[in-house]
Amino acid sequence: MAASPAYGEEKGGSSSLGEPEYGHDPASGGIFASDYKRHDDLKEMLDSNKDSLKLEAMKRIVAMIARGKNASDLFPAVVKNVACKNIEVKKLVYVYLVRYAEEQQDLALLSISTFQRGLKDPNQLIRASALRVLSSIRVPIIVPIMMLAIKEAASDMSPYVRKTAAHAIPKLYSLDSDQKDQLIEVIEKLLADKTTLVAGSVVMAFEEVCPERIDLIHKNYRKLCNLLIDVEEWGQVVIINMLTRYARTQFLSPNQNESLLEESAEKAFYGSEEEDTKDAKAEAASLAKRKPYVMDPDHRLLLRNTKPLLQSRNAAVVMAVAQLYFHLAPKAEVGVIAKALVRLLRSHSEVQYVVLQNVATMSIKRRGMFEPYLKSFYIRSTDPTQIKILKLEVLTNLANETNISTILREFQTYIRSMDKDFVAATIQAIGRCATNIGKVRDTCLNGLVQLLSNRDELVVAESVVVIKKLLQMQPAQHSEIIKHMAKLTDNIQVPMARASILWLIGEYCEHVPKIAPDVLRKMAKSFTNEEDIVKLQVINLAAKLYLTNSKQSKLLTQYVLNLAKYDQNYDIRDRARFIRQLIVPTEKSGALNKYAKKLFLAQKPAPILESSFKDRDHFQLGSLSHLLNAKAVGYQELPDWPDEAPDPSVRNVEVPEWTKCTSREKRKDKVEKPFYSDSEGESGPTESADSEPESDSEESGSSSSSGTSSSSSEEEDEEEEEGGSEEQSEDKEGEEEEEEKRKKKKEKGGPRKASPRSVGSEEEEEAEGKKVKKAAGPQGKKGHAESSSEEASASESSSSGSDSGTEAPTVVEAKRRKIPSSKAGPKEISLLDLDDFTPPPPQPVPSSSIISTSLVTDLEGLTLTDTSLAPALLSPAFGAVRTYELLHRMAGEGLSVEYCFSRRPFPGDPHMVAVQIQISNNTDAEVKSLRVSEPKLLAGMRIQEFPEIESLAPGDTASVVMGIDFCDSTQAANFQLCTHTRHFYVSIQPPVGELMAPVFMSENEFRKEQGKLTGMSEITEKLTLPEKCRSDHAIVQQVTSAANVGRVPCGADNEYRFAAKTVTSGSLVLITLEWREGAAAQLTVNSEKMVIGTMLVKDIIQALAQ
């Protein structure tokens, strides 16, 4: 009944997100019918072949899920769309799958093949999201598939996919913990990953799967420390927490000497330890034996590298560093964290809450640290109560003889607050101050007594309780106060307070002999109306009075005990019976009677008022367990410091064989340095931080953090140049060219240093620098192709804006390429691990309308890239650049357009092929507003148009660069070339060889990769080399002209290897040409992309046959 209108309405109003409709379902009677129909409607939409309908349906389903409504009966209809082309539909289907796959395991299996296909997709985002969903659907049957997928993804080229693999590890582990051993292998592999992107995620996986396998960290410890600053903030938190535990097991306590001395004084803190060491003499001996403490350089490294993170905007990171310092740093250094923690107090109230909890714990042990910030903990009337109480806690912890007067004055204002809970807490705090600081005890007591006349009962009650505790310390002097309190029994109604007063009077009845029986009389009268705790105290008082003053109170006591005997509460009845037996002598009562007085009126130790935060620091600070003061599930204990330091050499990273030669080793350092934020990269502990702190900090200043360098820093420039030139001088193959280069560099460096370094002049200088480069650019081009790339990298290294991180490798790369067959040998090439790199960074699109390619390449050198962003793709090897015609001058009515593939990485998008377009105006009129429009592209292809050319004078030629993402296919990109008057349909079809960019790899890597790409991915063809193509030079020339590939060094004489990656998906293309006797040769192409492989073979053979 209600169903049909709702049904209609939905169809009509489907464009607005369908969400709220589900909120107000019609009357519950109609629900089932209408739900059924609704879902029918959705099913219909999902089955349609229109993406928009599907999307609409999925949006409504997701809205249902978001509201917590059950949409599981749509599973079959939804799962069909898992392979939908529309990316948004696909994503929403993923959302749905992840939510319901667990419930519908069999149906979920239908989707698996799609993900498996997705795992092989060239687009890294698709690979990653396929893995994400596959690992999230929690279907136990597919565990082996997941395992396989994770393993594969862990060695993926894209760091993003590897990150996803790291994320998938805990998912699989929670699904099937039997896989632990295999997963640990993957974790071990990923821990060795050098990209910052992966680091945080893999440590997270480590923490969830195998936190006990601390041995896996050894080799990666230094790397993690050095990468830390560049890791994303969430990863930082996880890594810091893990390293805190690690350090606790591996290093000695920096405070050990002090702590040994302290132990006697602060038994409470170290009690447990002391019990272990039974013999004090042995202790003393071990102290004597113990060498003077020297901090392990690795320990220092950790402390130093985490310190800057105290400045993070993320409160969790700051807290993580703070706890690391608290647990690991020498006492003298812990102070630095106070400032940062106090800063967090300005943040959201939830953040304040957590931070204050931790500060409260820290302030007990390290009071001095927060003392300078005492006033930051002052309380405002607008603070939430829970914050007020925590601040009070901290203030109390910080109170000492010098500041107590200020604090007490502050407390006085708090006592008048309207927030009564807070007032009660303040009174408690005053009590604690009074017990801790003897000097002010009387002052506090007087203040509290004044509060007894407060109008608010809660305040009075709280005061009574606190006074009771205080009085226990020195009761004799305070009978006045006790008398005053006795009077209060008439007025105070709060049970706890009444009970406290009664206890006090009973305990000290000798001090107030006259009043006590009177109080008992009053209480006996009202006994039946009292609360239980008061009743107990009345009995207590009666018993005590009976023992001390039985004359006056005997009858009263009898009366009270009789009343209690028939009380409703069994505790009270029990107590009454017990006390009667104990104090009233009868025949039956045994020997205990004699001791009754001793039992009741024994000296009782005064209570110690102490913070509830005391000793909470045995939990790792900042952890959930610490906050709750209870062990949370999965909490990893913070181990105690070891007595003997474990072998520090486990953290040494093995130095591979080939670096034995010293010059090489140095070179390696040079190469690797920029990749790590710190100079000590992988070097051994010999380069300790402490040994040369100054030079070290300087160095790290230049090379650390995400691209620190910048042109205005004089020191850095100098250093960079030094670094560069040193390296050159080390290079024994010092060719003349390099000599020259060095001079040039020095020259460049010289005037810069000399010029006055006001910041203002920087821009001009920069412009100058560019001019120089512009001039240099074309020159280089005319010369040998390789030297031009050399030039480019040289200018890059000296260019002001660029980062030290990018330079060194490029320079080195360029050099290597120059001397591939000579002494350098194939081995050194593995110095550069491809996986270290991520694709080149986005580069600025030149904004001026006419720009020459040489300028574009110059600009590339200027971009500020980050350390690990050094281009993995090499500058292209130039063969003769072939130009193609885009628009003939006849067809274009005088406008002729040619294009060629410049083989330079396209600035702005690494997935695009740069196409250089040469436009000549052969008409006799000006051509205006020349631009690209209406590209007709196949799915996935993209065009980055060149900036519009405003006008082109007759006879002029303009050259522009546009980028096309061909999606690794040789399909033509069709678009219109528009002028102010005409439109020309044109198309660019790339030869297959242009769809890739060269990559650098070592022989070993090449072999390894080739090993992976066998079977279907390998294409082999025999060919005969023509006469003129039988020299090394010619073969290389021909192959590189046919395809944009980079040469890979090879040990064998008659073999040629080339490697490249496809531009869009980054799949490897490996080419091997084996030259057998005479003219016979065999060409092998290995590539995931079979089509590309086949076409490439054809093209290369054709090129060689010419």
Binding site: E88, H167, M418
Partner: protein
């Protein structure tokens, strides 16, 4: 880490749930409701609640509770900070982080949450990356999408995701290149009854709005950087550079962001720009009291103090207030007992004054505490600490950007005890 997230409005409806691992029933929120009831005031709901099977970590933002369900040990701040980041992202996407905005954009919200966490561990939280993956809703885009059938979801990996500068997206283009910096300083102070300063410090932030094409590399220097005592940075800032030269050098994110926040060392005496003369008294045994407050400028360096608002939480016993203001207008809400006086600009010639009678509940005892006065004010074109931006230089791009710096001083938590 984070297992599930529930969004709960003030009336206790769970209007959105999202699970990153297996589904946790809504009933887990009952523990939260219990705590909420106990706390009375929303501000006092404990951020961390322990239940038999789970831990609930919640934040309260813009009248919404973000309640996350945790199963294992995790640093609580990690979750809290993340939840705030989620709220910030909603704010950024929808202009406000309200129940209606979230409900209207539930699909985008879901897509965002899906991208932000993977298996409960944060994946992408940078707004620039998220915006490349999921485009924020605009009217224009929804029209275009309905015509062209294109979607709001990006199909390639955002460039930032792979780079070391994840905060910036690639290929930014503007016709007008602008960079604006707002130096905003807030004075936190507690002034005691007699007018002397109990505690005062300056908290500052520099909020930036950067609309620059390409990959600009900026460096911002100060005339007196030593003033900054404790600074926290946006991740884009090169820390070493600051350490060595006290220059902020960074490749900025695109759009609005907070560059740094800082504290001016508490050793420096803080100039308090206003003073308050007050006389609030309640007579014993009578149902009325006197209220007389005057605000005046002091040490304001020749700048006008404006936007002055005073709010007072009056004691519970106050029934009504009968006041006259010589300037501005006042309101008293008898339910919440909040007196708000909107003064506006202070002119030294004629000091604003608010004076009159307080009506108390008859029979109730006289309130023993005088309420504290919370003052807000603004001073344009002045950074009270004296911080001054020296210059802004740009490298890496060729165009000349338009640069601007604005200073403003505000009252932060500025409280006068009476």
């Amino acid at each position: 880490m984070i297992h599930s997230l529930f969004l709960i409005n003030c009336s206790g409806d769970i209007f959105l749930e999202k699970h990153w691992k297996s589904v946790v029933s809504q009933s887990v929120c009952d523990y939260f409701f219990e705590a909420q009831e106990k706390a009375i005031d929303v501000e006092n709901v404990p951020p961390v609640i322990s239940t038999p099977l789970h831990y609930l970590i919640s934040i309260y933002r813009d009248k919404i509770f973000f309640v996350s369900v945790i199963q294992t040990e995790v640093p609580p701040l990690f979750v809290i900070e993340f939840l705030h980041r989620v709220a910030d992202t909603f704010q950024d996407y929808f202009g406000e982080c309200s129940e209606t905005a979230i409900k209207d954009n539930v699909v985008i919200v879901y897509e965002l949450l899906e991208e932000m966490l993977d298996n409960g561990f944060p994946l992408a939280t940078e707004s620039n990356i998220l915006k490349e993956l999921i485009k924020p809703p605009t009217i224009l885009r929804s029209v275009v999408n309905s015509i062209t059938g294109s979607s709001n979801v990006g199909d390639t990996l955002p460039t930032g995701q792979l780079s070391n500068i994840p905060w910036r997206r690639a290929g930014v283009k503007y016709t007008n290149n602008e960079a604006y910096f707002d130096v905003i300083e807030e004075i936190d102070a507690i002034i005691d009854k007699s007018g002397s300063t109990v505690f005062a410090e300056i908290q500052g932030v520099i909020d930036s709005c950067i609309k620059l094409s390409g990959m600009p590399d900026l460096s911002l220097s100060f005339m007196n950087p030593r003033l900054l005592d404790d600074v926290s940075f946006h991740p884009c800032i090169r820390f070493k550079r600051w350490e060595s030269e006290r220059v902020l050098s960074f490749i900025p994110p695109d759009g609005n962001f907070r560059l740094i926040s800082y504290r001016v060392s508490s050793q420096n005496l803080v100039a308090i720009p206003v003073y308050v003369k007050h006389l609030i008294s309640f007579k014993e045994n009578s149902s009325s009291g006197r209220f007389d407050v005057t605000i005046g400028p002091k040490q304001n360096m020749g700048k006008t103090v404006e936007g002055v608002v005073m709010t007072v939480h009056m004691p519970k016993a106050v029934l009504n207030m009968n006041l006259t203001a010589t300037q501005g207008s006042y309101t008293f809400d008898p339910v919440t007992k909040v007196l708000a006086w909107d003064v506006g600009k202070i002119t030294p010639q004629k000091l604003p004054n608010l004076k009159g009678i307080v009506n108390l509940q008859s029979g109730a005892p006289k309130p023993e505490e005088n309420p504290s006065l919370n003052i807000q004010f603004k001073i344009q074109q002045l950074a009270i600490s004296g911080l001054k931006v020296n210059r802004l230089d740009m490298y890496g791009e060729k165009y000349k950007p338009f640069k601007g710096v604005k200073y403003i001083t505000k009252a932060g938590k500025f409280q006068v005890r009476t």
